[in-house]
């Protein structure tokens, strides 16, 4: 057995390989992204990025119906997009095993909400495994695929940010050797879910859950760890680790499968203790089911529902005592929020929207950071693809003058994910709003993944690059203009004209992300501020570029200075300077 350090996501990828997964599909989303990126290490798996999570799941379903094992991965909110096929997949069941990995994000480290996707297991009537560390992430991925075939059901594997992105020591295993052959097999009663068939399948699903509930009582993934026998704890996932850390003396029922619950095992365990806790992150998912069994427990009466659980928060909930830092700064510290990178092609677009006093319906991506000062030019952000529909709806209720200020801003990957549907609606229903597509040739926010507009596949092979202009024209947009966002004046002129136009128009601001992995943009030498010419007017600071620093003590009013390690010479700031003080190249 080989010991190695793996993140939860790397371990899931390894588990998929060992289990003989044939097809893996996903749309990138923090904290799930690295699962598919790591699966590409294993050439026996056909791994690909789908344009969105619904398509990813449908690809997985097809593979399963053909007899192959499949893994589909997404972040928690991605499951909302995939929910339509998911609920019916639960009815059909599988042929080859199918695992859907949902990577939840308690604490919203990089998400727009912190929904607890364990609720989907109950809602869709599907079993859900929940690993506590990387070893279990690998083991449970294998197990989930076997269980999927054994019970003819799709299976959830739920990770959270602290599982997906934590690394721990793992013993890796060998790939399985015997898998059933793939082939066409007609089975309409199972695969064609029209009412007559689906009614019969619903009965099968309910029976499946009852059988799994009894089966789970005997399985090693639901285990009891004996402590001092005074306090009982029911827990799962990362909360198990915090419980072990905080209550080392407790007896613990550690659930590896959080749905369906092993009810008899829980009854037997609970009967031994006067004090019983359910320790879980986010919703009282286990707690409510245990209470419904007539068992008294402590849970969300003392534990937080909002935010992630930590050892410190758990200790405070259980004992009322907070961890006391030995030393804490006594003064307020400046925040250090994330920022668009130096050379980011989105920066000038938001500067322009700010100056044009646009109301910007925004979307999900790096460019969501356009809401921050000093650009301050994003006014809504709901979910992937929402910007365009939001703009349509807003323009409908405003007078002509105000409606003209509405601009939807969406990235290339997000546009292809679910934005295109909104654009069809705009044209179909004669909207007056403007759409800006920020085409930086990659899915940047999640770490620069390929998408149908980038021209490459997950494996790095060249592929057809979707022509976004032609796509927009084909749905009926008559006014499609491409601008280079590094040219501030031209970008402004075009956006202003299109905002004034009383019909749908699309402006594509096209420049590759400075960090794109393939064909990286050649960095230009760093620019330099001529201290003699700099008047300290701060016009360049309006870009909010991290490479432009301010020296308050220089000159009478202070002066700008460019950090040569950060600057990539994009040339935006010289366009901002009225005194021709920025240019040339920094030395050394």
């Amino acid at each position: 057995m080989k010991r190695t350090m793996l993140s939860g996501n790397e371990a899931i990828a390894r588990g998929a390989f060992e289990a003989g997964v044939k097809v893996a599909s996903a749309y990138p989303g923090t904290p799930s992204t690295e699962i598919l990126e790591n699966i590409t290490r294993y050439p026996t798996v056909d791994a690909s990025w789908a344009p969105n999570e619904k398509v990813a799941l449908e690809v997985g379903i097809g593979a399963s119906f053909g007899g192959g094992r499949a893994l589909v991965a997404m972040k928690h909110v991605g499951v909302n997009v995939a929910a339509d096929p998911l609920f019916t997949l639960s009815y059909t069941g599988v042929r080859g095993g199918l695992v859907l990995v949902t990577a939840d994000d308690p604490e919203l480290h990089s998400s727009q909400n912190e929904q607890d996707n364990r609720n989907y297991a109950k809602f869709a009537k599907m079993p859900m495994f929940e690993p506590a560390d990387s070893q279990e992430a690998l083991d449970f991925t294998r197990l989930a695929l076997e269980v999927s075939e054994q019970f003819d059901t799709p299976v959830f594997l739920r990770s959270t940010t602290r599982i997906s992105h934590s690394k721990s020591v793992v013993e890796i295993g060998e790939p399985v050797t015997s898998l059933p052959d793939t082939s066409i097999k007609k089975d309409p009663a199972k695969f064609v879910m029209l009412p007559g068939n689906a009614r019969k399948r619903h009965v099968v699903i309910e029976d499946r859950l009852h059988r799994m509930e009894e089966w789970a009582c005997q399985q090693p993934f639901n285990r009891i760890e004996i402590g001092e026998g005074k306090i009982g704890v029911i827990t799962s996932g990362v909360s198990y680790l915090y419980a072990k850390e905080t209550l080392p003396e407790a007896d613990i029922l550690k659930l590896g499968m959080v749905y369906p619950l092993p009810k008899q095992l829980i009854r037997d365990f609970a009967s031994r203790y006067d004090t019983l806790y359910v320790i879980e992150e986010l919703d009282p998912f286990i707690e409510e089911q245990v209470r419904a069994m007539g068992i008294a427990v402590h849970g969300k009466d003392i534990l937080p529902i909002c935010g992630e659980l930590t050892p410190g928060r758990l200790k405070k909930a259980l004992t009322g005592k907070e961890d006391v830092p030995f030393h804490a700064p006594q003064e307020p510290l400046p925040n250090r929020p994330p920022n668009m990178c130096p050379g980011c092609p989105h920066r000038s677009v938001f500067l322009t929207l700010n100056r044009l006093k646009a109301f910007v319906t925004g979307d999900i991506g790096c460019y969501t950071l356009g809401f921050m000062e000093p650009l301050s030019a994003m006014d809504t952000c709901i979910c992937m693809g929402a910007s365009i529909g939001n703009a349509t709806g807003m323009a409908k209720v405003l007078n002509a003058e105000e409606a003209q200020r509405i601009v939807a801003v969406i990235g290339d990957s997000t546009f292809l994910h679910t934005g295109i549907n909104g654009l069809m609606d705009m044209v179909y229903n004669n909207s007056k709003a403007t759409v800006l597509i920020l085409d930086n040739r990659t899915t940047a926010m999640t770490g620069r993944q390929e998408n149908p507009g980038s021209g490459y596949t997950l494996a790095g092979d060249p592929s057809y690059r979707i022509d976004i202009e032609a796509l927009c024209r084909s749905v009926g947009v008559k006014n499609v203009t491409v601008v280079d966002p590094y040219d501030i004046d031209h970008t402004r002129t075009v956006i202003k004209a299109e905002m004034e136009r009383p019909e749908v128009s699309v402006v594509i601001a096209r420049r590759a992300c400075m960090l794109v992995k393939r064909d990286p943009v050649k960095r230009q030498a760093a620019l330099k501020v001529d201290a003699e010419k700099c008047t300290g007017c701060k016009a360049c600071l309006q870009l909010g570029c991290p490479a432009i620093e301010w020296q308050p003590d220089a000159g009478d009013k202070g002066k700008a200075v460019i950090n040569p390690l950060l600057c990539c010479g994009c040339g935006l700031c010289p366009q901002m300077c009225h005194f021709d003080a920025i240019g040339g190249h920094s030395e050394g």
Binding site: P31, S110, K167, V169, P311, V324
Partner: protein, 197 residues
């Protein structure tokens, strides 16, 4: 030392190379035979934002999160981002800090102020603080992007790890074309720390 969990933090600004430093450290600790857990936040938090990586090692480690007041060692890549995470440290913790200020955007915009005398305040609360001139060391190497390895080198003496294991691990983890520069930076960092102790 193997019976107790040791808690190491690496903090700084997204883009400074904290991720690679923490990857190398956790790999070294695993190869030395410890149970290791490490975590940090990816995604939105890494774009020029404040970053902190937690690394815990010992015979058996449960949580990957270091509780407040229990950190043993803090390796800081930037002064404010070192100061910010002092509450995670225990009394007498060891700090290795890079002599560097990076102004956060709200400071550049004049909305907030960078605290005064950060270095002195850190040293006052934690006497076992070592200030490393990371940029100077990287300049000696001739590659400004090796600061992270110089800092890791400066911390290496504080951990129960054989020097050879560090070098072997770096050889496995750093891309070939950057390897020599990174090894040199690591060595300069560890020597700089020795000279101060």
């Amino acid at each position: 030392m193997k019976d107790k969990v040791t808690n190491v933090l690496i903090s700084g600004v997204g883009g400074q190379g904290i991720l690679l430093a923490s990857e190398v450290l956790s790999e070294v600790l695993m190869l030395a035979g410890y149970d290791v857990k490490k975590n940090e936040i990816h995604g939105m938090a890494q774009r020029g934002g404040s970053v902190v990586s937690h690394i815990r090692f010992g015979t058996k480690v449960y949580s990957s999160i270091i509780p407040e007041g229990e950190g043993d060692i803090l390796l800081g890549f930037e002064l404010l981002e070192t100061y910010r995470y002092l509450p995670l440290l225990r009394k007498g913790a060891k700090i290795i800090v890079n002599d560097l200020k990076i102004l956060p955007p709200p400071v550049t915009l004049g909305k907030e102020t960078y605290p005064d005398n950060v270095q002195a305040k850190i040293q006052q609360a934690f006497p076992d603080t070592l200030l490393v001139k990371g940029a100077d060391l990287a300049k000696q190497v001739g590659n400004p992007r090796t600061v992270n390895m110089a800092l890791l080198g400066a911390m290496s003496g504080a951990l129960p790890i054989d020097n050879q294991l560090w070098t072997d691990t770096l050889r496995c983890m750093v891309p070939e074309r950057f390897l020599e520069a990174n090894l040199e930076a690591f060595t300069l960092g560890s020597r700089a720390a020795l000279a101060c102790s």
